[in-house]
Symmetry: C2
Subunit: 536 residues, 2 copies
Amino acid sequence: MSTPTPSSSNVMEQIVSLCKRRGFVYQASEIYGGLRGFWDYGPLGVLLKNNIRDWWWRNMVECPPIGPDGSIVDMVGLDSSIIQHPKTWDASGHTATFADPMRKCVKCGHILRADHYWDILATQSKWFAELMTATENGAKTDVDTLARWVKNKARKSAPNLAAVAQPTITPPETADVKAIVHALADNNEPCILCGGALGSPEQFNLMMVSYAGLQQTKENLVYLRPETAQGIFLNYRNVLDTTRVKVPFGVAQVGKSFRNEVTPRNFIFRSREFEQMEMEFFCPPEDALKWYDFWKHERMKWWLSLGIKPENLIFRDHAQDELSHYSKATVDIEYKYPFTAPEFGELEGIAHRGAFDLTQHQSHSGAKLDYFDQDLQLRLKAEGVADDEVKKRSRYTPNVIEPASGLTRAVLVLLCEAYSVEPRAGVEKFEFFKFKPKFAPIKAGIFPLVNKDGMPEVAEKLYMDLRQSFACEYDPKPAIGKRYARMDEIGAPFCVTVDGESLKDQTVTIRDRDSMSQQRVAIDKVKSFINEKLDE
Amino acid sequence: MSTPTPSSSNVMEQIVSLCKRRGFVYQASEIYGGLRGFWDYGPLGVLLKNNIRDWWWRNMVECPPIGPDGSIVDMVGLDSSIIQHPKTWDASGHTATFADPMRKCVKCGHILRADHYWDILATQSKWFAELMTATENGAKTDVDTLARWVKNKARKSAPNLAAVAQPTITPPETADVKAIVHALADNNEPCILCGGALGSPEQFNLMMVSYAGLQQTKENLVYLRPETAQGIFLNYRNVLDTTRVKVPFGVAQVGKSFRNEVTPRNFIFRSREFEQMEMEFFCPPEDALKWYDFWKHERMKWWLSLGIKPENLIFRDHAQDELSHYSKATVDIEYKYPFTAPEFGELEGIAHRGAFDLTQHQSHSGAKLDYFDQDLQLRLKAEGVADDEVKKRSRYTPNVIEPASGLTRAVLVLLCEAYSVEPRAGVEKFEFFKFKPKFAPIKAGIFPLVNKDGMPEVAEKLYMDLRQSFACEYDPKPAIGKRYARMDEIGAPFCVTVDGESLKDQTVTIRDRDSMSQQRVAIDKVKSFINEKLDE
């Protein structure tokens, strides 16, 4: 049971709160009480998300890394529909197996994920929080205190808990919170809401349904994609036929996906609507392990390029018994989230999927998805390989290496990574975001020192020029210290101030968010000064 | 009845076919037989779409136009969920009124839009196509020929047509195709598939449903947004509270929307899943008409900046009886599509929505959405307005000006606008796309004249440098004429060729797509040469 430590859950709460307060992420439909598992990206959140999206696109589609043998890597982009033909999900295996084990409370009907029970209990149950308080976070258990809780508070917070109904059940004297919960629930796992007994686990499919057509009939049933990847497999043949790529090549796309998570949690880490960045790399089966290794390391380099500290990222190879039956190898890149620390949690998976996907779609659709590799044929012939074997090896169903990551999860990682607390701006624990300049939603605040004496005119003109190159904000109003603090909070790396001297010598001050130091720079050099930092 | 003329429908077919052939737009789930009303954007389509998206974002969010009084316009971006709380759509009126009149065939159950009946018949009915052939496109009607069609072919293509079942019905001698159809169907509109009688029109809601939660219950029912706009209204208060904007200000977003169109048609013009670019501009009621006028003209300027010929765009003011009850004024920007020519069809709507949206959400959610306008208060006081009136006028529910357009529709417009047929590349009717360079998916092809003699090395190096600045393709292989032709087809404005001379004097040729003329340019000037053209 990995109960979050109070300090880490505090950090997460503070990040969520700062995100709301400064326009990064809002709860969706907040004015209607919210909708669990859905989030809206505010003015700064959308800029941060776009910056990550564009950097991924640049490094995957526009300027992919040089291949393992030093040659140019063929890569193209795609944007496929969220809704595809339902047969897609039969072929991919999602209709049959994309399911989580769920348990339903026999008393109140609440449904939760069986395999995350203890985590969910620890983070979402009101009565469990009371229990934790009564046991001093499970450190010390006093039978009388527990019995008092059962007789008093628990009657309200966990009315269907077995111990509440049957006073014969007495809490055991142990420091093991799991054992106490089991005992109070008469050897069951109790509902996190009402304490009632949970039914047996059942598999529920996580794909969200819709209907293409006016009537909710079986014929019209469609699914909102649970991953963008399948849209790429469906277009593998189209891409080969209509562009100049040859195997090996990759197809990349960014887009929304949906999963009917029963217990969405940890802010935007696990939500029902989210955004992915996925790439499928098609290669000859005999080169697949080489490409797997290549992408594994390239993807780690990419995450590091976002300014994430190396100690916060690890590779986690999937154990043999953890692999999908078709996967030859899979590795996760994991990040040390505040809610997993000191452990790590999933960020990106790089999977060697073999020929599974194309084989499945070939057999379900009847389309020919194999490939004749002329380059390989020439290479093998030159190597003196026997004709029979050349023939056999140069026609194949390509293998696939899939680096699949979450864009919205990347936003979360940059928020966690950048979140800083320091004494500054007259506050002992001043909270702000230390984004790497390239990814900061706003790169610079442009200020007149005072809102008069010709300064606003100069500052406005500079702002109008700078905004052509990068996102910045013009702010003429409160005291300069307040304006600095506000820019620090939202993670803007630079503040450019026009003061009295500016009018005489055409220079301004540029203040650095991290060092808080200032330097004078000529007005006509501000753009190149900041652009240089953004290129780092 | 606006039956497309054969030539214009031909043009559309050619565009669709070129789009497929060159990787712009594929039918979604094509290998599973496709899914009506869903499209995938291929390697070139997604680049074209991103170019338009980024240009809109730049001109609306990053560098919005200077306001009507010469001051900076406050504008922020947003990315709200596709799925919002269902109450959203009660407040917006969508659950009650976002519906089309539909008629259902009493024989085969086919459902179609009542108000588009004749258009749909003309474009999608097999038996009607036969009828048109038999009547020489309705120009000449011969009763015997028609009677023969009814007795023979129609038994198969329109088995449920009244005239097929009742030989007493005889086709009238008239050139009016509508009258003939009516007569053959015993004074009804017949089903476009089987010829059966259509039931009375009924209203069907066009929102696609889903369920957030594992069970398909009424409590879990949600909708896929039919427009992005409501996500902005839901966050109006959040944006005001968490950023520094003051009324007037705008919130802009780009994203997918869904509509359960019964008869999706005209390629990507009317599809079930599509992408929008919408902005809501919140302003004091007394300034609303000024802002309406401002955005109306700014939006037209923006469309012209895409390189669309002025004669292909018009304003169409909504007539008084066409306006929504809450709208004070609405104007459409219309484009002359091949399937509407010589008429125009919808591209963007700019609506003066009054205070309707915020008032609705205020009354449905209970949230306070009115605004106290300190700037207006000061202004009115300075103008000597009486205190009572100042108080009354400076607290209000903002009015909204909404420029709402389709990103995927913009893609269609640029495809139609750029589609050209000229004798070139040894072909009498060579088809290609003449995109304005800024929006071309690929800006340049980089070629070695021959794939040897040191040319590939120079060309590859140039390619690796240029792709840092704009999308280009490296192609070493077929005859140079073929490579030019291919680049013309996909609308790449420039071809850069490394030849024998390049190795001696460090120059290359740059060929222009439109004039087909070439000029020699120093290798180290290629980037700035092309970048300059892209800035135009």
